[in-house]
Symmetry: C2
């Protein structure tokens, strides 16, 4: 502990003990104070900084109360990383990386002192990996002529129906010009309007969602600029510093980022082939009284797993019993490959308005569309609508109307169905190629039942970051998995996300071949020190 | 103080003294504990709730440190409303109203316990006034056949160029379909892209803004879904609980709402005919070290006042000296009536990247467009871009492109100029009508040099809420002014906002007539107890 980094101001509004506690918390988050490290004894503060024993004791009490330290009188106080519930033992592996996520280096100076409220986003980390891959690829002497990018998570751009989109924009413009409907006639509807957004578009969307077992009407639908904004509204209404939030581990990186900006404490829950374990959730709910569970029950991100149908009503029942909110992120329901029909949504089992359903159209139309929706009822919905009105007023009317004119057509349903078949074929081709190329390496991977990605696990002893470099030099960009884990100290260092959605079958076959070469190269280099590999041979 | 409302939980993460302090702060915000009220003595907590003297003392210390209470040992602790800087004496008048804004009544129950992070927005108050006006109008026996609404602050819908908007949407659709430019070719630009938004639109906007003295290029421009989102990003990056923020008093209601959601402490600065007083800002800056100043220097909301040209460079210099950020909200620059040309923007005097410029197109195109921009540089800009990426990714590409195709045409400039002349005429007609109808009543009003509204001050003794009812019964909806004041206990109770932008000259003449009737009716009823009125006669 370097006392010189602590700055206490007597004249500040915040009491000294609170200032001290906050700065220690920051040091813990940054990894300057590590898990298990002993904090300086109370008297040391007096000697080093003139801080009174009472103040130092109060500061340590705050750390204890907020889950940043543990201790017993006479035995000292020890750092405890805050996002890991005590019953899940933290590992040592990714401590440095956790610290890197928590606060990236920031420049200092008078202006930078004014920008302290935004934490370094996880997505910076994703960009960094792509940059490293590109640099490695470009400097590799034997790299192939093309780089295959499997790190995007994006839909296939060749499937965007742009001719129809153009027609939809034209029709939307016309509808605005001539419409003199309920909203008060020509032009009136272009004034500051209701936060829910265009009612004709909500009407269509309420009907569209019935296919997922959702019974709602247009006044239960809040249009948002994508499900990312939906997540942000949810996080701002329901979550604040220190609140316990249940989440799949691994999970959707943007959701992790948004909730972390609110200062939540994660309660990570591991996934099995049937999704979240109801028993694990119950144990955590009983102990930590979470406010919310965020999950992607269908075509989970990043694994592609889908929660078993029989677990779904049990989960909703559990939320009712332990009084938490379920946030169901249902981005890829239309792209499900696990059977003839997708299991019914959690929202379809909701009886008391505690399931908040988020829909995105980024994968169905195109990502830069920025259009999504929240479906909810009652009190929780009212608060979300208020938040939208306060922070962003409402969705753009021309945009909402263009979505209606595009997606409210029979052609849209055909296009989505067709796209689903294409993505499924890509998943099949890639899975088969992986079987062929990675057989005998000890690698395993999630069986993606939907969406665009799967999660690969390397055999013990191989690290994702090494494979990332090895693959880049062979012309393949992949994304190391740790960024998807809510509790970074627990993130296995051997997972890699592979996105197949925006690559052709030919490229996927080649990608698997390059991946196999990279894994085997890594293993051969590790041979002398890798008992895991020897055992597998 | 009713002890029964306090609930402390020994098992909670939060220490008891913090729980107690937070609940007392809530009671103060709600007005259950009033300015100057004495808090219970320390020992009373022991008797009533079993709270130890140490815990109660610590709780009071927190209140003191966070500006919610004052006290001296042995003399007791007294409630102090937190948003009022000590040198601005709070008035007693609007205390109840302040409490009403702070936390509107909310239903209780298990689900409502989960929705505690959103404060009741000020805009609820605005809606409430419109509802009251409608109800009063409908139930008034002698009300005229039509209600004239002067409470909207909206642009004139008959000026929206919808035929051109339709053509712009068509062209935008075409441009997306055929464009294979720098962004990586057809369809690639529809994938998750840079947070800044469509580069062609930014290119145009950077050029458009040169007319306001702003030198920037497209990479200094961040497209947002309206300047409301711009404000939200600014508030989230730069402001947190307890931070001091300078603001015009009165100010733009949505800005007040957004910053208040971040828990800032307002430093309100009064306006004179030349806008903010530089000396007043300097006094506050010296004493309170604000992080930020939010203002609308041109066509201020709600007064229509414009900051004198000679004050502008001095203000930017002051921000540099005291290291605060200036947020310049420039919504109505195009609708300026104070002279042949608008004074140069504050941004045009910025040399070290501390002026953040917000532009809106809600008044220039139409409000439900939801399109705006932030212009900034360097470190502050980087953080804002990160925040946009984290919370909302980026602006919709089709929407941004439609704005480009609409506003990047010579016709747009002509339309805006034409609209400016029409609004100016409305301002003139309304001002003249006010002179005629309110002469001799003692009313005064701001000379709107831009925008759509002015602020009327009633003679002493008349209250805005009474006029609001009186006017509604005569077929005129107005908006009481207190909602526009950052420090509600200081809000004068005699101001009313009148929006002339979306009413024809004929209706404005009639509106002034009805207003005159309402004011005189109020005065005649007040006659026996109103020395102010007698003195004026």
């Amino acid at each position: 502990m370097d006392f010189a980094t602590i700055r206490l101001e007597k004249a500040a509004r915040q009491p000294l003990y609170r200032q001290l506690a906050e700065q220690l918390k920051t040091a813990i988050r940054r990894g300057e104070l590590r898990q298990g490290e002993k904090l300086p004894p109370i008297r040391a503060w007096k000697d080093a900084l003139g801080v009174s024993p009472v103040t130092a004791t109060q500061a340590y009490e705050v750390l204890g109360a907020e889950g940043f330290a543990t201790g017993q009188v006479g035995r000292g106080t020890y750092v405890q990383l805050p996002t890991v519930p005590p019953e899940i033992a933290p590992t040592e592996m990714l401590r440095d990386q956790a610290a890197a996520y928590a606060t990236a280096p920031r420049s200092s100076g008078p202006l930078s002192d004014l920008t302290t409220y935004l934490k370094a986003p996880r997505s910076n980390q994703m960009q960094r990996f792509l940059q490293i891959a590109l640099a490695r690829y470009q400097s590799a002497p034997a790299a192939p002529a093309d780089l295959i990018v499997m790190s995007s998570g994006s839909p296939a751009p060749e499937l965007f129906a742009l001719k129809r989109w153009r027609a939809a924009m034209l029709k939307a413009g016309e509808s605005i010009e001539w419409d003199s409907s309920e909203d008060g006639g020509l032009n009136r509807q272009l004034q500051y309007g209701p936060a829910l957004g265009d009612s004709a578009t909500r009407e269509w969307l309420a009907d569209y969602l019935t296919r997922f077992g959702i019974r709602c009407d247009r006044d239960d639908v809040l249009l948002t600029s994508g499900s990312q904004q939906g997540l942000d509204l949810v996080a701002r209404v329901f979550c604040g510093p220190g609140d316990a939030v249940l989440v799949e581990s691994p999970s959707y990186v943007s959701a992790l980022e948004i909730f972390e900006q609110r200062g939540v404490n994660w309660l990570p829950v591991a996934l099995d082939a049937g999704g979240l374990s109801i028993e694990a959730i119950e144990r955590l709910a009983e102990r930590y009284h979470p406010r919310l569970l965020y999950l992607v029950p269908t075509a989970q991100s990043p694994t592609g797993l889908t929660m078993a149908a029989e677990r779904r009503p049990r989960l909703v029942e559990l939320a009712r019993r332990y009084n938490f909110v379920i946030v169901e992120d249902d981005t890829c329901n239309e792209f499900y490959y696990g059977g003839p029909s997708t299991p019914a949504t959690l929202k379809s089992y909701d009886t008391d308005g505690r399931v908040i359903y988020l829909k995105s159209f980024s994968k169905l139309i195109f990502p830069m569309l920025r259009f999504g929706a929240i479906v909810a009822q009652g009190l929780l919905f009212e608060r979300l609508v208020e938040a939208k009105a306060t922070f962003d007023r409402s969705i753009s009317l021309p945009l909402a109307r263009a979505v209606l004119k595009f997606a409210g057509q029979p052609a849209f349903e055909r296009e989505v169905q067709q796209a689903g078949l294409i993505y499924r074929q890509r998943r099949d081709v890639f899975s088969e190629s992986l079987e062929r190329e990675l057989g005998g390496t000890g690698c395993t991977w999630s069986r993606a039942e939907g969406g665009f990605s799967l999660l690969l696990s390397l055999p013990r002893g191989l690290r994702a970051e090494e494979l990332h470099v090895e693959a880049a030099e062979r012309g393949l960009a992949v994304l190391p998995g740790p960024v998807f884990y809510p509790s970074l100290p627990d993130a296995p260092e051997n997972t890699v996300r592979l996105s197949f959605g925006d690559n052709s079958p030919e490229r996927l076959t080649e990608a698997a071949r390059r991946l196999g070469l990279a894994v085997r190269a890594l293993q051969s280099r590790r041979l002398p020190t890798s008992p895991g590999f020897l055992a597998a041979v």
